[in-house]
Symmetry: C2
Subunit: 471 residues, 2 copies
């Protein structure tokens, strides 16, 4: 990898009117009219990088000591039979995306001798059936849990922690601490206090790193290291993408152009962003992207306090699978979306389609080709069909899936999101819209201090049975 000169490629031909027509496409003029705004957004980002909630931009550069600690700890934890992340939102989506991209696609089903580490589970919900199911399959003697919450008070994660720590304490007494590793804020919150009192090994999430930007902090890096993923190479990919985007404004900055195009698309009523990888390994990258995009850009108010109610709705799709589910709609339905193909130049395996039934023309043409050729042809064909039907689409390609290019890809998306925030004049790093639900949950569970909210909930208009069918 030392001689790598390649980068992620961003291809936006099919966003432009010269490819999908004047009615739906973006003109050169429109794109150029955004140049000033885009360069302004780029400049703002450059000035603010590293500060406030832009701490994540420095993560590719400032974690040398952390990485040493992670690798040392991972070496031991890797010997466990089960490794479980307790976390939700960014604390779960980042590790899962890395796992899916960079481990064997059926990793947990491999024999131990063929795996680089323990079986891996991420418990990112509080469904009691699922928690019970997890407990049914674990061998606790050989299980390590990584509890991850920056605030140290996330109800879902802390509930799981209470359940798991109680079981472990009853079983192992004081030694239970050897089964738990905490990833949280170094100073603030309850988890760090508990962890210190109980003697858990800890990793820290820097103050300027929000959940959806935390994949390249210990949140993502520690689980990745346990699974044998090369985290230094991942960060190298992030750094190289950051440098490329830092240096270049507008025309030659892929994340900035991509951000600008989505803003123009939104102005043209394309309020849905479909992320469609053509690789199973990148399937959960789309899930990770959906949080990043949806939670960062879905905002009621802009910086001036004006109501804007903006935000593309991200949709995850998988090529070719969803050609048999969603592409009918994408091709013929409303002109309300941009499809982003996520492709690889080369797959890490080659599978030949053999002959065998040459009498059937609808099958025999497949023989002698590879699955690689088939999936690539289907991607090109779908791109062609969408374009012919005047549907906005663009393509992000990487040479192949490895740590380096996954690093480039994730940094690309995080930068694009940040630029978009500036272009929309909104705060891409907060999430005020989830407070109402959190507070209502506290009130419903009788938490002290939420009595007023409880009263509010009790006084809400009760439902009419007329609007309920069934019994």
């Amino acid at each position: 990898m030392d001689n790598v000169k390649e980068t992620l490629r961003f291809d936006y031909n099919n966003m432009m009117e010269s490819y999908i027509g004047k009615k739906e496409g973006i003109s050169e003029k429109e794109l150029n009219s955004m140049k000033l705004n885009a360069n302004e957004a780029h400049a703002k980002f450059k000035i603010n990088r590293g500060n406030g909630m832009l701490g994540w931009v420095d993560l590719p550069y400032n974690q040398n000591l952390v990485i040493k600690d992670i690798l040392l700890t991972a070496k031991t934890v890797r010997k466990a039979e089960f490794f479980v992340v307790l976390g939700i939102g960014g604390s779960a989506l980042g590790p899962m995306a890395l796992f899916q991209a960079l481990c064997h696609i059926r990793y947990n089903d491999l024999k131990r001798s063929k795996r680089r580490g323990p079986k891996f589970f991420v418990e990112d919900n509080i469904d009691p059936e699922r928690m019970q199911s997890l407990l049914d399959v674990l061998d606790l003697d050989r299980t390590v849990f990584n509890v991850v919450t920056k605030s140290g008070s996330t109800s879902e994660t802390m509930s799981q922690f209470l359940i798991i720590s109680d079981i472990l304490k009853n079983k192992y007494g004081d030694d239970y601490r050897n089964h738990i590793i905490a990833t949280t804020d170094e100073v603030n919150g309850n988890l760090i206090k508990i962890a210190k009192a109980e003697g858990f090994k800890c990793f820290y999430i820097p103050a300027g790193v929000g959940g959806r930007f935390s994949v390249i902090s210990p949140v993502g890096l520690f689980p990745a290291a346990v699974l044998g993923i090369n985290i230094k190479l991942l960060l190298k990919g992030c750094a190289d993408m950051d440098k490329m985007c830092r240096k270049n404004s507008f025309e030659s900055n892929p994340a900035l152009i991509a951000a600008t195009l989505q803003i123009l698309a939104m102005k043209k009523g394309k309020n849905i962003s479909v992320m469609m990888p053509y690789a199973d390994s990148l399937k959960l990258m789309a899930d990770w992207y959906c949080q990043l995009w949806g939670e960062s850009l879905g905002k009621e108010k802009d910086f001036s306090g004006e109501k804007v109610n903006v935000g593309q709705t991200p949709v995850k799709a998988l090529g070719v699978t969803d050609q048999h589910s969603q592409v009918q709609l994408y091709t013929e339905g409303p002109f309300d979306k941009v499809v982003t193909f996520l492709t690889v130049d080369k797959y890490r395996a080659t599978v030949i389609i053999p002959g065998g039934f040459q009498d059937f023309s609808s099958i025999s043409f497949l023989s002698g080709h590879t699955l690689n050729e088939l999936i690539t042809a289907e991607m090109v064909a779908t791109e062609y069909a969408l374009t012919k039907n005047e549907r906005m689409n663009c393509k992000i390609s990487i040479p192949y899936v490895d740590e380096y290019y996954v690093g480039q890809l994730m940094m690309f998306f995080m930068l694009q999101t940040a630029y978009c925030g500036y272009l929309l004049n909104i705060d891409a790093f907060n999430q005020p819209g989830v407070e109402e639900g959190k507070n209502a949950t506290y009130a419903l569970l009788g938490r002290k201090g939420y009595e007023t909210k409880a009263t509010e909930l009790n006084s809400k208009k009760s439902k009419s049975n007329r609007y309920i069918i069934g019994k």
Copy 2:
């Protein structure tokens, strides 16, 4: 279950202006104005049921012999160690939704003695890395494959079939046939011809049953039976929902009201339909729904040939997980969506959140509650937050997840989709929009007869490097 009197409940209070306000909500008047159309759609469906592509409506009633055959075959196949479905689209989504809902949530990770059947894999893509990964984990001696394609010519499924059958033939000679079961059309297509020539055990997909309505045909029923799912009870649930909807028009027909409300929502610019189960077991039900809804209703032309470009874009979300990913957007972003909560009254496990760290108020309030209470409170809280923010939402509830209620649920969605098709005056049972991509794929792979398409592809405007960033 014999005394079951309960049904699925559809609660649409929060679609109405009396709950979410005049600006976004539906008025009584608007709803009533649709009554005539809705009853017309209901009448059309009633007249056509069983005919044409409405053959699926009869499946709860006309499969007695098929079920006997399925159960007998499943009894043997259940002894295998691995059971793999080769299929894509409806052939995969149906079996996966049933598996996720009605088997242990970590089924494949259970020891053999705790499983009712073989490990289960559905191979619904043609990514070569994934195919290789599957082959890495299977023990072919103890594996049975179920190849599923109605047309018998689906490129993805037939490619997989060619790969797998070649490996098996080389290994087992003529006995390879014992490892393959085919589910396809009884008369048409290549797979049935091959299956008869080779001596595979076969199940048949009736002519009037399209892929996305095939879950209650052998497509879904046979894998379900292998996994120990009670398929008779599933069909009983379907039948009961069908009877309820057949009898009742408008006010008391849940699927008809649900269809009408979505039509009204679309008229008000809610062109996104979020399906959000609050149960991990129903997570893949949302995937199954997304195909049903997207492919059935996403259409360019109506029955009169007029361009309409209709179709809500379905989005899958999972409660509470996606509260930490998508709910910020749903609460504060554009007023362009309807959120459908999918809830259960009772989970099949209860998990208590124990005490332990009582000094921390942000944790201690959780202690003594159950995960069941927490997840339910969060659902109610999210519903409350959306409603307070004038966001259209509705709720489908079932008493708990079992075969009977899953049957009701699936039939509800299929009926709702069919009614919507009539209300939109479109063909909900075809998918003309995927032909272009299929033909382009054939042309790219050099299939005979597609030379004109190949010429068309070759003459398409080549991409400009100016619109590609990266190298």
